[in-house]
């Protein structure tokens, strides 16, 4: 049995060994917020956080991350209360078709948790693995920049 800790919950799973983390999240745990658009680590839609770092779940073996803290998009909001990043993406019009958004938010969270006041270049650099075909980059970057400042203000926001 493999124990995966996802969004602060423990899951005991009977894994065979070949499963990617992405498959486990979507097909075994029903957490379909994490997407995939390429299956070859190019698009970033499968981005999740492991121990606070942005990683690609499509090239992560589920068995390799047993016992580590995995956070997906479903783990951000607290009940009805949206995470500042989620709120900022709505407030600054960063949402279009939405397929890239979970990956973008998770990549941004990893950045802002360590550095809530990044420069535009630093945001660009941290999000360079995330594609948005709708081309919403200007508003996405703005939302992240604003969210960081909000997160710094609300210092009590749990990481």
């Amino acid at each position: 049995m493999t124990t995966l800790i996802v969004n602060n919950r423990k899951y005991e799973l009977n894994l065979k060994g070949h499963e990617t983390l992405l498959e486990v999240l979507r097909d075994h745990l029903g957490l379909t917020g994490t997407k995939t658009a390429c299956e070859e680590s190019e698009c970033g839609t499968c981005t999740v956080n492991i121990n606070g770092k942005a990683v690609l779940s499509c090239v992560t073996f589920a068995c390799a991350v047993e016992g580590e803290e995995i956070t997906t998009i479903e783990g951000l909001a607290q009940g009805d209360l949206l995470h500042p990043l989620q709120q900022a993406f709505i407030d600054y019009g960063a949402v279009q078709c939405g397929f890239c958004i979970p990956g973008m938010i998770m990549a941004a969270k990893a950045l802002l948790d360590k550095n809530p006041e990044p420069t535009r270049e630093e945001i660009d650099y941290a999000l360079d693995g995330n594609l948005c075909r709708c081309g919403g980059y200007p508003k996405i970057l703005e939302a992240i920049w604003q969210a960081g400042r909000e997160m710094k203000k609300e210092r009590s926001w749990p990481q």
Partner: protein
């Protein structure tokens, strides 16, 4: 199922990993996974065989350590790229590694890929192999019989020999006297993919170059030294016109191989610029 069924092992010590690696048949090592998993998916798609066993090195703490002393920088083979990038030890001739790390792929990949994985899969889509050759790095391997083996980066990339030993660390000698210049060209300003890079290291004796090392990185193809250019520089004074003259003393075979006209042009632009940089930094040993 994107890849064929397999058995997954997560040893927690190097010895355990070595034993598994030597005793299991049909086994591959898992470092960061960014290369291996895509490779396995591709093999399955093509209907080819994939390994029965995977041995993950992720839980082996000693392979993740970075340390430095007066003489040497030691990088554990499982050091993740971003951890190397953030390491406080990257000064003197090691500071170029910071640039290389920064240029690798994208952020989540930099959070997953390892130095060892990058080197052992001989993935010249990045600049790491060329820079390791340039800095005269040594790759340290360990076998299950306890036998250690040290192979220079240059030797390792020259012979694509397979080994049953595990790469445990990479060491680079500290060198405060060398002058280093590095130039890289991307495929386009809008992408993160390198087209080529040129590494140059030299020492100055009076107004002459000595012991020059030039490593040519033709991305996705190979990384190797241009000894013709090295010889020319070692016999030349470091005067301003030398950068232009050097372009007539290149090992043309290297630059023409798998190289479009544009790439060849950019090699020349980069070489000239790198030599000019060396001359400029002459009074400041480390750029």
């Amino acid at each position: 199922m994107l890849i064929h069924p397999l058995t997954f092992y997560t040893p927690t010590t190097l010895l355990e990993a070595l034993n598994l690696y030597s005793s299991l048949g049909d086994v591959r090592l898992l470092a960061g996974g960014t290369f291996l998993l895509n490779n396995l998916k591709l093999l399955k798609k093509k209907g080819m065989k994939t390994p029965q066993n995977i041995v993950s090195l992720k839980k082996i703490g000693e392979l993740r350590e970075i340390s430095a002393n007066e003489k040497t920088l030691t990088i554990g083979s499982m050091t993740v790229i971003n951890d190397l990038f953030n390491s406080p030890f990257l000064c003197d001739n090691f500071s170029l590694l910071k640039t290389v790390c920064r240029n690798i792929s994208t952020q989540p990949i930099r959070n997953m890929a390892t130095v060892g994985g990058n080197l052992t899969c001989r993935y010249t889509w990045t600049e790491m192999p060329a820079v390791m050759i340039g800095l005269e790095a040594d790759l340290h391997f360990m076998g299950s019989d306890g036998q250690a083996q040290i192979i220079s980066a240059e030797e390792f990339f020259k012979n694509a020999a397979k080994t049953d030993k595990i790469l445990t660390r990479v060491t680079i000698k500290r060198d405060k006297k060398a002058t280093i210049a590095y130039r890289r060209v991307k495929k386009s300003p809008f992408v993160d993919i390198p087209l080529l890079s040129i590494f140059m290291k030299t020492y100055f004796e009076g107004d002459r170059f000595t012991d020059t090392r030039v490593v040519v990185n033709n991305c996705v193809a190979f990384a190797q030294r241009d000894r013709v250019l090295e010889d020319f520089l070692n016999q030349s004074p470091c005067s301003n016109g030398i950068a232009q003259k050097a372009l007539d003393h290149l090992d043309q075979g290297i630059y023409r191989l798998r190289s479009s006209d544009y790439k060849q042009h950019m090699f020349r632009v980069s070489i000239k610029s790198a030599i000019e940089q060396l001359i400029k930094s002459r009074n400041n040993p480390i750029p």
